[in-house]
Symmetry: C2
Subunit: 136 residues, 2 copies
DNA sequence: TTCGTTAATGCAATCGGGTTGCAAATATGG
DNA sequence: CCATATTTGCAACCCGATTGCATTAACGAA
């Protein structure tokens, strides 16, 4: 499916900036911060626009957002199962403590986690830290 | 062990602010943000001081830091096994999506996570989201 | 194709956590 | 009780995130 179709099917208008950003996310093997996107698409758009583009992607279910240890957001394009109403709710992310890249790990098995009685879990995330292939 | 002894045994000077903050963290069943601490101890100390107190706790191994979905830090007093050199490195946290409280879940079993070849994992975290007992 | 409506974009400005430098106040060992 | 090292408070700053508003662009209908 082309980026245009992808945008349209998620209820978003097709604009050249959105196409560029979505294309970038889809080609990337890791989650990108807004600063990463700005660097990859220099002078392409205002930073506020990029902020809103990424925000719209998350709301529409085109991307999901990961918070890294320093508290900055990183975005990765969702796998097929995601949509606006039901993000694929088990994500695993790996953050390299040397190059700071955040990778999405698609195939992980959901662990059995027991929560105190009365608690209801709606989504879960697994965050790993260490060295990525390039930095190990 | 008293808060004074606890501080001293981790190489920190005993000050009244540190005692108050550590006591607060130890009594809390959830991880507190700096704003939470400020609210709980009104006009007790400057926000920079609280920032540095929490920072010193983390460095000394008295508390560990959790980043919530919005990217704000939350602190929880470490269990006995933690010290400055080796934090207990598997943490599970639960964030309520209604009241935003972050809870530390102590007894969870570490899941088997397979990472791509070449990746080295040094620490892992599990983040759950949903409704806490009070909000469910 | 053109038009009107609705949404997206850019700019300026603001907000809030996080952080630093420095001088005054305080803890601790002698 | 003193000397010294650490902690505290204040002011200021950084930077990512966010909002308001005027301008521009997308797109469904005519």
């Amino acid at each position: 499916m082309s980026v245009e179709e992808h945008l349209r099917s998620h209820g978003l208008r097709v604009t050249s900036i959105r196409k560029d950003v979505l294309d970038l996310l889809q080609r990337s093997d890791r989650a990108l911060s807004q600063a990463d996107v700005e660097r990859a698409l220099p002078d392409r758009a205002d930073r506020v626009t990029l902020f809103r583009v990424l925000q719209s992607f998350e709301e529409a279910g085109l991307a999901h957002r990961v918070m890294d240890v320093q508290g900055t957001s990183h975005y990765a394009s969702c796998s097929k199962e995601c949509n606006a109403h039901a993000h694929h709710d088990v994500h695993a992310h790996f953050r390299c403590n040397r190059c700071s890249s955040v990778f999405c790990l698609e195939r992980v098995t959901l662990p059995e986690v027991t929560v105190p009685t009365g608690f209801v879990v709606t989504s879960s995330r697994i965050e790993l830290e260490g060295r990525c292939r390039g930095c190990a």
